[in-house]
Symmetry: C2
Subunit: 358 residues, 2 copies
DNA sequence: ATGAAAGCGCTAACAA
DNA sequence: TTGTTAGCGCTTTCAT
């Protein structure tokens, strides 16, 4: 089929086709100004020689590289999901994706990377880490940027999940099950998502007439250890909560460990709800009731937005909010329901069996 | 500080310093042929103007981009760990990392990406997916390539974990606990790692005089669902195994679900061991005894190798094998040991009624 | 020690 | 419709 010798150049193609480089360029880029015969001929030759345009050169000469840069903290499960989603959304476009992974200690990319990306890519999708101040250093560029999630100093178009509504669903669910004393494990409040979830919790406390002791809010950090510590605190309360809502799934995993550590069971003694619906939520035991972020849709929205911006179309709205959804699993149950517990099987009040698939 | 206007160019720096572009280039690249005064002067100005070299241009003109490409399947937990490790290993070097994420359906990158990377990066680290045939299309390039894990058609320097030894450790551990009837859930046998682990299992069966019924080997695929199905098979055996060794952690997670589904408990009824030591291994309940892959070391070795190759140093050995290690957790226990179950540890039997709030 | 010239592979802008 | 001329920002080679 195609000889894969040394990645031929445009001028080689042009020479063989006996046309100028520009004609070859136009033909290959589907631009007008080439006769159909020549175009076909050139395309054939290019195909034949396995020609692949050099994006570096294209970019340097003022063109597009057709590469989208993604900046993300890959060690965060939820962020990984988003990156995967962006990847597949991009696959149906003519763009490729290259990812820069923030280290877990760095909360912002080194200047070198920012410049590198700016030089090379046509647009950047940033999945916001805890700190996003560095974004301002990008803002004067003519490079399209879209962010997922919202942080301070963020003037770019953003894609967010409806965190507030999602958290409301979670609390409502617990309230429906009869819980009135619900603990909350907060996230990292530098992130709007964390603040929204907490606000929803507080609003629902008032709205539904739940217990409102301040000690019912324990501060976490979106990490497992933080969830563990926060849950420990909640369990130490003289009148401990009958349910806990953790600001994300990983915190909930930590909380579950703390609950077990205290000799209690989920959901018999304490119902537990997370947020995100990352893979581990359906892998742990009991499986975790959680609020699903629409990460695939968010990824697609981010891709659509950035592609439009690259095409010169300003996004209609500077913020797109996507709906969240409650996923019922086995970590919640009605308060006070008396259950017979067979030795061999855990009681299951929710029909969801353990799903083997992630 | 540094004005961040429009990313100044070499010629601007040169003009201000009143030298030629070449002199500026030499100064900034630490090359000989510049007087110390001029060098200092130029460096100062560059610093001052926030000059950042354009790697695209550097690369196009035959230089290095100082970027390492990584090709990986990010949706695999273990692979993610490796990528993170590569990132941090690289952080202490002058290289940056850009990741291309294979989709879970594609097992090889599109030609476009391969060309793109070849044009842009100084070297590529490939974390092998199940199929790696595409590697051959790279082999005639003068681009340094290192792979992690081993697949077919792989003539590049490779970094691997000692899968064989690790699996031996796992089986030995189970045998030490008294298990004689051990089931095995295989991985994807296109991968050498999967084959090595299975071989170790078979060798140990013979060596330790364990039960060797062929039905004790159930075929999985390194995925959760595969582990689930395989475990189901093993549990259906009339004389079912007392312990199961899964070829990776995700399979083990699936197996654990299957075991619970059958009304059995880990580790009381069945001991379970995984492989990899990904995050979920310590997040599930009970925590999973597993064989830890030295992913940080592997990442570092890959980085060292690729950096050396870029510098023109051929690696001493074409394969580097790093040791694995058994991590003891809660999913294994001595066969037949009668355990008293303290109320606080065995959740199933306790019944902490919660008084209604109010 | 310094600089001028040429070119990497491509694409805008302008001729013909 | 086609080709020519620049030039992206840098580095190599070859002068000086």
């Amino acid at each position: 089929m195609s000889t894969n010798k040394k990645s031929s150049t445009l001028s080689e193609i042009a020479k063989i086709a006996e046309v100028s480089v520009m004609t070859a360029s136009r033909a290959l880029n589907n631009q007008p100004g080439v006769s159909e015969e020549k175009r076909a001929e050139i395309l054939r030759i290019a195909e034949d020689m396995g020609y692949v345009a050099n994006r570096i050169a294209q970019r340097l000469s003022g063109g597009k590289s057709r590469v989208i840069g993604v900046i993300a903290q890959l060690h965060t499960l939820y962020t990984s999901d988003l990156v995967l989603g962006i990847g597949s959304a991009l696959r149906s476009s003519k763009y490729e994706m290259l990812v820069y992974s923030l280290s877990d200690t760095d909360s912002q990319p080194p200047q070198a990377i920012v410049s590198l990306l700016r030089q090379f890519v046509d647009g950047i999708i940033v999945i916001l880490p805890f700190q996003s101040d560095y974004l301002v250093s990008l803002s004067d560029a003519d490079l399209p940027i879209v962010t997922i999630d919202e942080g301070p100093h963020n003037n770019f178009p953003k894609i967010v999940a409806d965190n507030y509504q999602g958290a409301r669903l979670a609390i409502q669910h617990l309230a429906n099950l009869g819980h009135r004393r619900i603990g909350f494990i907060s996230g990292n409040n530098q992130l709007a998502s964390a603040r929204d979830r907490e606000q929803a919790f507080r609003d629902m406390q008032a709205q539904l007439g739940l217990d409102t002791d301040p000690e019912l809010v324990a501060s976490g950090n979106f990490l497992q250890q933080g969830g563990f510590n926060a849950a420990k605190e909640l369990l130490r309360l003289s009148d401990r909560p009958t349910a806990i809502f953790a600001a994300n799934d990983i915190s909930a995993v930590g909380a579950m460990a703390a609950i077990r550590d205290a000799g209690l069971n989920v959901p018999e003694d304490i119902s537990l709800v997370g947020f995100d619906d990352v893979a581990v939520a359906s892998q742990i035991y009991p499986t975790l009731t959680t609020v699903k972020q629409p990460s695939a849709q968010m990824a697609r929205a981010a891709v659509n937005t950035i592609v439009a911006m690259i095409a010169g179309i300003e996004p209609a709205s500077s913020i797109i909010v996507l709906p969240t959804e409650l996923v019922l699993r086995a970590s919640t149950r009605p308060l006070g329901e008396v259950v017979a517990m067979p030795n061999s099987k855990r009681p299951r009040h929710i029909k969801n069996r353990i799903s083997p698939a992630g």
